[in-house]
Amino acid sequence: MNSTAVFDPAEPTLWWSLPSGLLLWVIVLWGFGLSFAAPDRVASAPPAAIDERIIELPPPPAPPKLPSRRVVKATPVPVHATPQPALIPPRVVVPVAPPAPPAPPPVHADPAPVLPPPPKPQPSTDSSQDGTRQMGARALYQPKPVVPEDLRDQTMHIVVTARIHIGTDGNVAVELVNPAPDPRVNRLVLNTLKTWRFFPAIQAGKPVESVQDVKVAIDVD
């Protein structure tokens, strides 16, 4: 019985305990990560009711006709400060904007299907002075924004006002005049409105650029 040759069994054991600890930790992390990821898969509650409305704002009121050609040149500048007055041909005598039609009643739509509402033909007007025929832009394809799941879990009643610049080829450029406080909603509205297609406004038989303001209301109860 030799007591001086001290053997300590705790000495050489790290060679197996470290890999075992690593394996255990990977298992713990796996379970831990799963607990974070699980709620996303479990969330199967029915989506909240959504009420969406798209309200087209009436075009800016037509400025009064003025006899002076110099003044007529100024009429293309939209009332709501569209930053491209020079794009409208200067020879226009009658303002681009048609007379304001009565505001259409809000359209209640189901959230799932995206149905383009029937195009709303702008009343065409005939110029009494030179006979040039003009017609406002008509919407051909107007999908409504589909609210994603992550936005449905909170109640919101948001109205976003967007300004749509309709090109001569019917393509649109969109800017938000009155954005929502939530940037995700803004992005959703922008992405949806960018897909809209129009029949361009016609003036003197030729397509011209025009501007429309649109109100998009998103209600999640």
Binding site: M1, N2, S3, V6, F7, D8, P9, A10, T13, L14, S17, L18, S20, G21, L22, L24, W25, V28, L29, W30, G31, F32, G33, L34, F36, A37, P183, R184
Partner: protein
């Protein structure tokens, strides 16, 4: 495989602090595993041997015989062997050698427990560091131009929370391990001291019987 990927995505949100936290966790688990095996294989005393030492009809030869059945790396084997090999010496000498051996054994049992104790304190602190880093990152995204990247902000908050949660989890596991093995160490040393005292008593008794027998004419 999908679950593993989701776990990985969730943990990546924890940020860079997950790495030192993982290092601490692996260390803590390794130490606890090592201690568990140590107590299971090398600090286990059979009830048979314990009964033998505590009975009045104690026999040194039987003790030697039962000790051979033990693993020679067993701590009790080492302790009893020291007493057995010195039992012909005066009792004070044997007692002193046994105390020395017990001290060496205690040092072996408590080895690396300080690391576990440090991890109990350090893991939540590292988690807090992750919290601060994640929050700083999140609030840096709200600059003069306002909230330009809300997803980045929520990601930073998630990073902060995950790092803290992992740090607390490691601290909790280490705390239970540290307390359990500290308690086990104290129990083992108490047991060793009690049985050692009993053996020293037997040695004293034997010497007294010898002295009495030698003094008689």
């Amino acid at each position: 495989m999908q679950d593993l990927h989701e776990s990985w995505i969730a943990l990546k949100l924890g940020g860079v602090m997950i790495l030192p936290l993982s290092l601490l966790a692996v260390l803590a688990l390794a130490i606890m595993l090592e201690k568990a095996v140590l107590y299971w294989r090398y600090a286990h005393l059979s009830g048979e041997l314990q009964n033998l030492v505590e009975t009045y009809g104690f026999d040194w030869k039987e003790l030697e015989h039962k000790l051979t059945a033990l693993n020679n790396r067993n701590y009790f084997y080492r302790f009893f062997s020291v007493i057995l090999s010195n039992r012909e010496h005066p009792a004070w000498w044997t007692e002193s050698r046994a105390a020395d051996e017990a001290q060496v054994i205690e040092t072996g049992l408590s080895r690396r427990l300080w690391v576990l104790e440090t991890i109990v304190t350090a893991a939540p602190l590292l988690g807090l560091m992750g919290t601060i880093g994640g929050m700083m990152h999140a609030f840096q995204l709200i600059g003069g131009a306002g909230l330009v990247n809300p997803i980045g902000v929520t990601g930073g908050v998630a990073q902060a929370l995950i790092a803290t949660a992992v740090g607390l989890l490691i601290a909790l596991i280490s705390l239970f391990g540290f307390n359990y093995f500290s308690r086990l160490q104290a129990q083992t040393m108490d047991e060793m001291e009690r049985l050692g005292t009993r053996l020293i008593d037997h040695i004293r008794l034997d010497q007294q019987v010898r002295d009495t027998a030698g003094g008689q004419p």
